[in-house]
Each structure stands twice: as C-alpha cells, then as structure tokens.
C-alpha cells in the first residue's frame, strides 16, 4: 500500500454569524475527515473576522460554509466580500463553497445560488444536493492532486 506523499488537504469549516446550529457542522466534519481532509471547525455563530483570521492562520485549501437558519444567503454574501477584500492574496483567493438551507422560501430559493456565485462563491449546494457531487466539487476546488475519497481511506 502506497503512502501518499502529499499533505492532507486542509479545510476550514464554518457557519455564518447569525447561525447557532452546529449539527450540520458536526456531520460535515465527520464526512470531510472520512474523506481524508484535515478539518478546522469554527463552531456556531462565526463572525466574519473570526473566519478571516482562521483562514490566515490555517491556510486551508478550501473553505466550506454551512448554514441552515435561512439567513445564509445574506450573511454568506457579506462574509465572502470581507474575505475577498483581505489584503493577503492567499486569504482573498481561497476557494469557498457554501451549502445548506440558505433562504426561507424552500424551493423558491433556487435563484439564490446564482446570486451567491456572482458574489464570489465557487460552488453552492442547496437543499437536496447530492453528497457525491459535494465530494467531487470539493475535490476539484481543493486543488488538483487532492486525494480522492478512496485514496484517503486507503491512506
């Protein structure tokens, strides 16, 4: 069995400032760790500046934002503006994806995805998204040469 020479891909996992839900974050952390990623989970109600500092400190390959309180589209758009305005190009340029229950209108929230992409997110997952799709997209975002899930388990 080969030992991967590459470092474990690193993820900062966060929610938005107004969201106190954490089970989504707990689940994603387990899922990502099972996928071979190193996860820094920032917990509930993350202020924008806490996220920026975490990115500055951990230098992640990608940022995953999860929100389920319905304010994700508002808080998320603001959060990514702050992140991309950072003077440090590594911070401003980190690929960010967002997912969860992002609006309060259920199926009518489909149009929010386009707005969030326009705001700077690299991928948006709304309710009912396929987890496999999430894994593939993250794999691409976190950079070529990232471990596939199978390789990660093997490692």
């Amino acid at each position: 069995m080969s030992v991967p020479v590459r470092h474990k891909r690193r993820i900062v996992l966060s929610t938005v400032s107004s969201d106190s839900h954490t089970w989504n974050l707990v689940f994603l952390q387990l899922l990502l760790e099972e996928g071979g990623y190193e996860v820094h989970n920032l917990g509930a109600c993350v202020p924008d500046e806490v996220l920026v500092e975490a990115v500055r400190r951990h230098r992640p390959d990608a940022v995953v934002i999860s929100s389920v309180n319905g304010h994700g589209h508002l808080d998320g758009a603001r959060m990514i503006r702050v992140l991309q305005a950072d003077a440090d190009p590594d911070v401003a340029g980190v690929p960010v994806m967002i997912g969860g229950k992002l609006g309060i209108r259920g199926a009518a929230d489909a149009d929010l995805a386009g707005e969030l992409i326009a705001a700077g997110f690299r991928a948006v997952f709304t309710e009912g998204a396929d987890p496999a799709d999430f894994g593939r997209t993250l794999n691409e975002l976190a950079g070529a040469g990232a471990l596939t899930a199978d390789e990660a388990v093997a490692a």
Partner: protein, 1066 residues
Amino acid sequence: MSAELRNRPAADIQSYVEQAAQEGRLVVQPRMGMSGPAEMAAGLRAVAAARARTVGTMTIDSYTRVEDIAGARAALAEGKHLNGFPIVNHGPVTTARVAAATGHRIPVQVRHGSARPAHIFDAMVAAGLSASEGGPVSYCLPYSRLPLAEAIPAWADATRRFAEGTAANGLRAHLETFGGCMLGQMCPPSLLVAISVLEAMFFAQHGLTSVSLSYAQQTHPVQDIEALAALHHLAETFLPADVARHVVLYTYMGVYPGTEAGAGLLLDTSAQVAVRGGAQRLIVKTAAEAHRIPTVGENIAALERATRKGREALTEECELPWARQVDYETVYTEALALIEAVLGLGPDIGPALRKGFATGLLDVPFCLHRDNTGAAQGTIGDDGRLRWAKTGAMPLPAHSSSTARAVTSARLLGMLRYTADSHDQAAAALDAAAPYRIAIVGSGPRGLSVAERLAARLQGEHPGRDVEISIVDKVQVGAGRVWRTGQDTSFLMNTACGEVTMFSGPMDDGPVRAGAGPTLAQWWSTARPADYPGPDAYAPRALYGEYLQFHLDAIETSLPARVRLRRVAGEVTGAQRDGGTWQLSFADGDQLTADRVVMTTGHPVTELSADQAGLAAFAGARPQLRYIRGDSAADMPLSGIAPGARVAVLGMGLSFYDVTAALTCGRGGRFEDDGHGGLRYVPSGREPRLVAGSRSGVPLPARGRNQKGPDWRYTARLFTPQRIRALRSRGPLDFRRDVWPWLDAEMQLVYYATAVRGRYGTEVEHAYTDSVVAEIAAAGADAAEQTARQLAERFGLDLLPPLDVNRLARPFAGCRFDSAKEYAAALAELITADVEQARRGNLDGPLKAALDVLRDVRGTIRLAVDHGGLTAASHREDFLGWFGPVSSFLAAGPPMVRLEQTLALMDAGILEVAGPDARFGADEDAGAFAVSSGQIDEAPQHCEVLIDARIPGPDLARDPAPLTRCLTRAGLWTSWANTAGGRSFDTGGVAVTASPYRPVDADGTAADGMYVLGIPTEGQRWFMQVGSSRPGPWTEFTKDADAIAADALAGLRQTARTRALEGANR
C-alpha cells in the same frame, strides 16, 4: 417594579407545581414567544384557558438574547415581527400587563437562551416576573461563542441580582436549569443529569431558594425514567434542604418526526415518561415545530393532548415502569462520578465547572464550543439506549464505552434521525392496526342518513382494518331532539308518511338493511297496524322517532364483520384537530378520537335578540308573567301554563300549530264531527285562552290533500335545471329579475293546466301545456302569466282568479277592520276557502297544485341560490327577505285537518287571532303582555304568557352551544358571507366547501376530515331543514349523505399512506 404592579403578583411557579403534584396533575407548558404585546397576551390567555394545568411561557427574541437591544428596536420600528417577545424594549408596564393576561391564574416563565442574561433578569424584576431558566454552561456551550470564563461570572452576578430584586418585590425567584437539554440530542443521560444538578447547585449558591432541574427526553423511555429517578436522587443529595425544587421534562428536542401522527406519538411518550418518571412539569412540543413556528391553537392542542396522556399514564394502560421500579444504577453512578469530580475542583461551583470543562472531566459530545474538549462521543445502542462511544477524559467507568462502535458521518445522520424515524414508523404501524373511527355528532335524520350510507357502502366489503362508527346525541341517540320518542303525540310531521323514508333504497326480497328498507308508511302499517291511517296521513313526530330508531337498528344489524356501531349519549362540547385526527370532548369530560367527524347538529337554540330579551326580562321581573322562548314545541315548558290563562302566541307557522295542539288536545280536549263536514272542539276545561298573531294575520294555509304517490316526480317545463344552470353560468344572479319570473311561469303553467285537465282531461292538458311552454320559451318569462291565462281563457276558463303569490301570502294587506269580530269572520271565511282548496288536492286543485311546485322544484331553486349563486343584495332582499317567507307560508303548510281544527278552536272561543300586522309588547302599566293589530280598531289584549312560536334560524354569532363556540373561537367554523356584487352580507351559517361540505376555516382552508351537513349550513345552502328523504330516485338529502360517506371512507383506503405534515410547504 412600579407601584401599580406591586399588588398583583404572578403565581409562584414552584408552589403552583407542588400544588398540582399533590393533586396528581402534571403541569404542562408550551414554547411560545410573540413580538407584539397583544399577540403575546392572547397566547398567554389561551394557555391559561386550556383544559390543562399550565404554565405560561414568554420566550425572548434572538436580538434580546444577544443583548442587541438597538437591533430589536430597529426591527420593531420597521414593523418586523421578531421571533420572540423583546422584553427590554417593551418595558415593565407593558410586560406586566401582558403577563396579567393569564388573569394571574397561572405562573409565567421567561425563556431566553442568553449566555449573559442580566438585562433580561433586570427587565423581569421591573415587571414583577419571578421565573426564568438557563444556566452558565447550558446557555453558553451549545449556542454561544462566549468563553465559559465570561459566561459563568455573568450568570453568577445576574442570578444574585435576580434573587435580590425579586425578593424586594416580595416574590421568590425561580430558575430552571437547562443543563439537562445539552445540544438537544446525543448527549448520554448521565452527563445531562450531572450538568443539571451542578447548575441547580450553582443557582442555590448564588442566592436562589427555588429551582427546577431539567432533563430532555432522549432515545429510550425506560432509560429516561431511570435518568429522572437518578436526577431526583442526586438533587436530594446535593441541593440544600431549604431549596424548594421540582423536576421538569422536555419533550424530545432533536430532529422531530415528519408525520403528524409520529410527532403526536413522541409527545405521548414524553407525557408518559414525565408521569412515570416523577417529573412534575413537562415542556411540550407540537408537530409543527420541526417545520415552522406553531400556532397558538397547535400549542393548546399539544398541551391538552399531553395532559390526557399524562392522566392515562396514571392507569394500567401505560406499559412503562414507575421510577421506583427501575434500576437506575448505571446513570446514577456515572452522574455521581461526574458531579463529585467537579466538586473536587473547588468549593465554588462556577469556577469548578470551568475547570471541569478545561480538564475534560466534563465533555459534551459533539459540542463545538472551544471550551469543550470534544473528545467524547455518544451513540445509540442496538437496544435504542443512548450510550457513550467515547468518554474522553471523563471519570466514567471503563465499561461505559466498551461496546460501542465509532461514529461515522453516515451513522451520525442515522442517529440524529433515529427517534424521528422510529416514531414515524410506529405511527404508521399503529395507524394500520387501530380502528378507523368515524364520529357522527347529532343523530337526527341528517346524521342517520350519513350512517346509513356508510353502512350501505361498507356492505360486501372486507375492510382491511376495524371500523368504528360512533353516533353521538345529547338528547336521544337514534332520534335526536326534534324527533325524540317521548314527546307529546299531538306534534305531527309535516310530510305525508308515504312520502317519507330514511332508507336509500326500497325494500326488496332480502332483509331490511342499510340501502333497502321500508318507507315510514310501510313501517307504520306493519309495526302499528291498528292505528295506521294510510300513506297520506301525517305521523306524530314521536312515531317518526321510533321509525328512526328502527332505521338505526337496521343499520347496525347490516354492518359487515370488523365494522362496529357505537351509540354514544352525551353532549360534544369541543372538537380539536390533533395530528391527523379529531379530538371530541364531552360535557362530562369524556373524550372521543376520530379520523373523520360529521357534524349534523341540527337546530340551534340561539341567544335571544334584543327585542326578545326585552320581553323575557319584562316577564322575569314579574312573577305573574311568563315568557317562553322560540324553540321546538316539544322543548317548550308548556305544562306550567294554568288553565284559563291568557296566552299570546307570536307567529302562526308550524310551531303555532304544535303549541295549539299541545295546549288543547294535549290537555284532554278533543275534536268531533260537527255534522256539517267540519269539526267541533270539545274542551276539557284545562285549556288556556290563546291570542295568536303574525304579520299576515293568517295561520299557515294547508297543504293540498296529498294525491301524489310515493314515486311521483315532477318534471318542470319552464323552471328547468338546464335553464338555471345556463343562467347561473353568466355570473351571480338577481333573484327577482333572473330567477323568479321562470319559477312564477312554472306555477302559472301548472295552475291553468290543472284547471284545463279538470275540465277536459289529460290529453287537452298536454296540448295546452305544450303550446304555453312554446310561447313562453319564445317570448320570455315576463309574459308568462298573461300567456298562460289568455290561452286558458280560450278554453273557457275565464273565471279563475289570477295566481298572485304576494296576494296569497298577505291576503289582508291594506284591509282595515272595525272590530275583532269583523276580522274573525273574514278570517274564518278565508280558512274555510283554504280548506276547500286543500280538499281538491295537490294534483287536481289548481291552487294547491301550483303552490306544490314550490316544493317540487326546491332542488332547482338551490341550483340558483346555493354557494353564492345570487348577488349579495338580491340574496338578502329578494330571496331571504321576500321569497323565503312567502314560499314557506305557501308551500310548507300543515295537513288540512290542522286548519279545520283552527276553525273549531276559534268557534269554541279557545283561540283568537289578533289580526294582521300583529304587535306584541310589554304594557308596563297593566303589568302584562299586550297584543294588538295594526289593522283592527280594537284595544290591545293583555296576556300573562307570551310564547314565541318561531323556530330560531342558525346564526354562529348567537349560538351559545359550547361546541359551536369552540369551533368558531378556533376559527374552524366561520360564517358564510355572500360577497357577490359588491355589498357583502353575513348569513350566520357555517361556511362549507361544495360537496362533501367541509367547513372552511378563517384562512379559507377546508378543514380536513370534518363535514358539516344540514341546518348549521343554512345560509350558503338553502332549505336545510329537511328531515327525511322520499321514496324513488335519490333526493339531495340522500346524495349529500352519500357524498360525505364516500369521502369519509376514502380515508379507510389510505391506511398505509402516512400523512405529510400539513403546512410543511406553506
């Protein structure tokens, strides 16, 4: 606290709960928080009024929770609805007033979720409130980023200030620990119990003498009872003796079942666990909560359901063990080890808690707060118990985590959903096994008709589950109030017995059963052959009641296997939606659960109008006077009227005949042949003297002698259903302009055609009819009277008086009489002529045949009118104001013998008719009721008794029946308003959908699983007071019943389907 609040303290929560516990009652409490004071007050008022021992909840909004008072103010200024009550912004006076909406009958607890609660406690003290909840750990770790190092001192200070401030108000501060609810799910019970006890000790250490200890329902009810037992034991051990306490259980706080039935089942389990585990208070959850903020009504339903289940848990029906019966060693030992480890870190609980978390001695599974070590994990064992997968550095016995598997993301999802899924599945399984229950409220003819169609439809079926049909009546099951069997036999039906049946099909060679049975005449002739007078006779109502009971017996004996009929005597006083079912509550406290409810509650007894109340009060203040309100004659207290008393009778419709019969024949008088083709009254001497009056001054004319056989059906030629449908498709109609001319044309046609037939026979009649119809169809209905008359005149029928319904309805309009005597003579002549017309029959007599059209085309009139067919103005003025009374007067009359009797009673001096334009008033000077006529020059007559002989119509706003009040208060029943054509008017009848007639609630939504049929829906539908069907093809009476039966049974076939939660997609 301001001075004005000082003398109105809220109830002390601990004393209240202790009192309830002594009475064996579980206290239940909702989660509830509204932005506006009025809404919050209304919610609290409803909780206080619930049929349960409740505590009110005032939940704070999320701005206030995080001390963002400016944010709350800005949101309020923008008119936004916050997700809770902004107690700081509203201020003490408003807050106190809102809390006072409970009438101080129940305590109010403020719930908030704040990691730094001083501002909330200060606002509570100012408002005179004394009960809240939370904890330095439980409101910090799960939801906040605040370090424990800040939250703990903040709570210490706030708690002390709260205790002191409340004491200064003369009240006892109470805090409930939230530590038993950490993260809602997946935290094993021993840690929940330990944190709950430690937080209670923290409260006590900072000055509280009254606390409650929480624990949230987890995955296994017996394990939860063990946890509650351990919590009691440890609280006893560790809390100072002078701290009063109780234990509170939270209904499951994790992922909630998606079906209403599953959610209901989980609530039921929590109530049972609370009672069996010795928790004195339960915080409930509604089925809606997982999807949206529940309504007040849903909260009340959950509180009442939990109360019922809690009461049941005291009985053998509950299979769960009592706390004293369980072995709680495991949870006790673990929790004790955790508590002792923390207490070993120092004498002050606050700092000790902080060290405990810092060192990992306390470690909440799956908690992401940075002060939590995060090395521990919970898991659900194969037996459904919540266990440790990893214990981290906690001082727990090694065996605690030995058997568990590691938690993967997929397994975590399964565990988070475990309780939800298992309850949804259990509910589906129960649903399949439980009987399908249909309740019929009101067992008069309408209710029985539905029961009959249910039974007929179930015949030959092999339902896949048990079916239970409950037929409920508060007076007599199987007859109802109006047709009850015990009543005076002088009260007669209004339809010839040969035309009456309750069976939806004729007798055949098979047994009498649902769908095939005798008419009233057929039954009478065999059941009471000695007094059976033939199919054209009118049966006593009491006899019809016996026939109805025979009908119900036949229904019952024809039910197939697995279907059961229950006869339930009692008054239903409430009906509430509860998950997928309806909960009916009875006056005596009984309950009945039903999947479908059919409301056939019949005639209401409405509150008196202002005029009526005035007359009643006049009598009430004078012992010599009596006022008898309008109602079914059988329900009037007539026996108390003294012989010879002077009795005013208001109204001369059908009830007038009943009242008159009861006070004459019912008192031993009798009628005999006068030898001249009429009747003579032989008094008993016990009769009072009657003075009757009405607007027309004429008793209801007789219905023509019945010549129409049971199978006779009228086929209209001009007023046809096709024509009315076509007219109606153009939009709301004007009754006088669009509808009445065709109905009048039909009557004119029959009037003259009958006369033509009388002289020349059927063939000529047909020729006459065809030519009239052709001419009117071409020329329009407006010329109908002229066309029909002129064509008839060509046949030499020129002596027939014109048919004018207005003249017939008010024969004395515009006349004046010099004396009562003169009027009596004119009236006697009119009645004699009417009897003569009635003798000629309803087929051969032109007048009565023409008027019978009004009965025969009732279905077509309904086509034009029902469900908003007329403009509002025409509906009110033309139809209800003019046509309704006229057609009732002309076509709903009694058998002609009643008119002959009336003449005889007038002759005998027992009855006097006051005259047209009759006025009934109170004569203060004479101390008596006064009756006079606006058209007779005669002094008023004075009477000691006034009987209102008019049956009150339905009016939701004036119906005091508890059931009606309950349904209207809940917004489930609303009164139907005709809004067509600009001017709206409220009919007072229940708003329903088209067949199968579901009630339409305040939001315009049809209530699932309930139907309303008959008199309560009068308004949107017309002429609902039909008490039977007739032989032959189905009438609307049977069609309505069948449509409801079909819909009610549709639910039986959907057994396997689990219902999606209502409102989930709103």
